[in-house]
Every structure is written in C-alpha cells, then in structure tokens.
Amino acid sequence: MTARAGRPARSPAPPGPAAPAIRCAGLRYSFGTHLAVDRVDLLIAAGETFGLLGPNGAGKTTTIRMLTTLLKPDQGTVAVFGVDAAAQPMLVRRLIGYVPQLLSADASLTGRENVELFARLFDVPRRVRGQRVDEALSAMGLTEAGQRLVKTYSGGMIRRLELAQALVNAPRLLVLDEPTVGLDPIARAGVWEFIAGLRQSSHTTVLMTTHYMEEADLYCDRVALMHHGTIRATGTSAELKAGLGEGATLDDVFRHYTGGTLDDDSEQGGIRDVRRARRTARRLG
C-alpha cells in the first residue's frame, strides 16, 4: 500500500459490477488524409495489465492520446471507469496517471519539485501533499535523489521519476507509452520491477504500449496486436501463442497477424523519432 497509504477521502473501488477500466468503441482518428486509428474497440478490466503492441506508426500512441483526452476522436467513444471522456474530460483526467513516450521530467527542477508540481496540478490537499510526494518518491526508490536537479539523473531514474509523478495522485489507471524504450537492459528491468511492485501493492490498472515482445509476454495479462491503425488480435499471450501451435513465440504471433516483423517497419515516425530522441538526450545531457 505504499503509494496509497494516507489517502484520506478516497473510497475503495465500488464492489459488484464495477465499470471496466477502459471501454472504447469504434475509435477512429486521421491526420489529414492518413487514417491513423480505425475502428478500435478495447475492453480492459479493472486491475488488469494490458499491453498494446505494434510497430512504430501502428497507431498505438494516437489511441493512447484519445484515451487520455489529449485528442478528440473523429468517431467513437471512450469511457474510463464508466466516465465518458468526451463529456467529462476533467473527471477522466483525475483517474489517469500518464507517462508519455519521451523522457519528460523538467531537468531544471529537482526530482521532488517535479513530483510536487503534479501533486499540485492534481489538487492533492496541502496537508497531505508533502507526505504523498515522499511516498511516491520512496515507492520509486528516489528518496535520496529527490533533492537533486533532474539534470543529474540517468534515463532509468527519469523514468522512475515520471512514474512517481503519475503515482502521486494515486491514479486508478496508469497509462504508459513505451515505458522502457531507450533504456539499457538493467534500467529496463528496474522500471519493470517497480511497475510490478506497484501492481501488487495497489492493484492499479495498467495500460501500456510497447514493441518489446518479451516484456509484453512477461508482464501483461492480456495484449492486443495493432497494425496499420487496426487491432488484429486480442487475448492472453498464451492464448495467442497456442493459436499458432506448439513452440510459437509472441513474435511469431505478431508476424502471423501482420505479415511482418516488428523491426522492418520504417513507414512512419522514423526520422522524427530519432530527432526527438536526440533532442531529449541533448536536453537532459
């Protein structure tokens, strides 16, 4: 209960037929003439860890942006814990902790200030604010580093700091866009350890995108395979692999549904992603 201890007014999730964490139907979004997301339906149960898999340009991030109220869908509906995102975006945002793809902490503030900023933006009451910030930092193993400027952090530490920022509001849904992209294997394992720990302690629903199949295999209860803006298959990793026969890997499943591997895709995002990643590196370096 680390991240949630001391939350005063929060009632536990109502028992009985709780609304699903996410229900979206018929989502559609286009950038100009390019149809980025087409007829996407998702049903994610409360408490689930759900992975949205696909290559760059598959429409994962656009889908995430619609689920987090950043984009208004051209068509379709989104409900987060039963709250309609189009009608009550402010309410939906209170339920979500969001970690975007890029390392996005403010390098000119300390780690603690970064978390406090989000505590304030989520209206965490002043009398519990300090305590909640400390808890979030300690849950991510950043108590000591919290006093230092983020400029001095490693990539893995910044990711954990972003998780602390997302957690300070004790969100019911954690949305992670490529949480381990660009991190070295040790930092990746570290981030996963913290996400897994968080799940055990607070049963937060987690929705993440990734293109690391082995991570999805290990950490997600269910996955959806996305390609060219549509969802090609949904199920547990075991189900999807079993569907293909003995000894199949999630990579094989992906190849089966999309007719390609994750690595050969360069249709979109390529140079922009690289540029952005470099800019992030420069900014934080």
Partner: protein, 286 residues
Amino acid sequence: MTSAAPGAPPAASADPPRPGPPGLPAGRPQAGLRRLASRVATLCWVELRKIRHDRTELYTRAIQPALWLLIFGETFTRIHAIAAPNGIPYLDFLAPGILAQSTLFIAIFYGIQIIWERDAGVLAKLMVTPTPRAALITGKAFAAGVRSIVQAAVIVVLSAVLGVTLTLNPLKLLGVALIVVLGSAFFSCLSMSIAGVALSRDRLMGIGQAITMPLFFSSNALYPERLMPGWLQAISKVNPLSYEVSALRWLLIGVPTNLALDTGVLAGATVAGITVSSLLLPRLAR
C-alpha cells in the same frame, strides 16, 4: 454513493459531478475560479524554483538594460537631443522605458518554453492533469510575469544606482509590479500564440527577433509620443507597450498619464491574449 460516478476521485466524491454540456468541466463557477487561482499559483511557484536553481539568466539579462541606461541614457542626457516632458532628466524618462523593454524581451521569447515542453512530452503530461487549457495558459502567462518582476527589481535598483529619482512609495512600487505582470502576461501570450502557429523553436525565434525591435521603437519607451511623426504616433497608440511604459512612467517618476486607460488596455490585451493562445494550444498538443 449511487450518484457518484464509479471512478469519482477524492475531490469529487463529496461533490458529485453533474453532467455538463460536452467539453465543459463539471462543477460550479467558483470551483473553476479556485482551480484557476491554484494553477496560476502552481506555475508561478515552478518559475520561482527555476530562478532559484539557476540565476545566470537573471544576470545575463541585466547586461542589455544596463548598456541602454549607461551608454544611451547618459549620452542622450548630455546632448539634450530628446526633450523629456516637464524638464525631467532624459535618463529618468528613459528608465521606465528600459524596464518595460527588458520585460518585453523576457516575455516575447516565453513561447519557446512551451514548444520545448511540447517536444519533450511535458505539455502532453500537463494536459492530462485536470487543468483547463485557459488555466494552463494563464498560469504560464503569470509565471512569465514572475520572472519579469524579478528582472524589474534588478533594473529598478540599477536605475537608482545611476541616480534616477524613483518613487519610494510602496503602493506605487506595488503598482509597478502589477503593470509589469500584466505587460509580461500579454507579451508572453503573444509569444505562445505565435508558438501555436509557428510550431517550431527556430521559427518562433525568428518571428520574435523580427517583432521585438519594431514593438520597442514604435512605443514611447525612448521618446515622448509628441516627438514622433504622425504615422508612428498612430502605431504607438495601438502598441500595448506604450501603455505599459506610460503607466510605469507615472508610477516611477510621476509623468502624468491616464492610468485607468493604461491598465485597462493592458488588462484587456491580456485577456484577449489568453483567449487566443488557449484556442491555439490544441495545435501544439496534436
């Protein structure tokens, strides 16, 4: 409990959300105002923390106004090229103009920060908090004002050291702070609006460079309006910087002006600026 949405957060559980028209946040207007005040306070707090962690900008930005006052001001005072009203020394007349100029320079490049935040994904994260677009922009506009106040304090001290006779009336100095905040809020909104159109740092830098000097020279910062040719007077009349300078000049050295008009124009321009940049913000978030 049945009335509360299943996902109702702590803040809303005591006050069940009622369905509002799409796109509008649920809740009473006071709640909206309280949230606005809270967001403005938060973003100003962030700005103060940043200034505290890194003061270099404060010093480097003091160099240019110091040069204007020391070289331009001292020289033009000596050669009596520009006749200031009521026979006051030209340096005294210039000081409020340079104060306004240096806060203009801070504010006009403030949009760079929002583009940086967009490129870094910070803006997306801010926009997934329960913060309406207008509150985010207002907060940033006032944060620019906070930075300008700190800068203004440096220039007021510098002017006093150079022998400018400034007011010591605390109410008037408070007024100076208010005018500086309003002016910076407007020009930072102008900058954020340009950011929403230009969408890139380089372009914003270019446009910023291109408009700062015309804004400065077409205002009454360097010379009284009555010395300008007619066409320039007309431009000066629609330049918010002129109203900022006039207000500062009255507050700091007592040159008469219509303070209500000056403040009204700045406040109106700020509200318009906040509206336009809030409308353009979704372009940055896309």
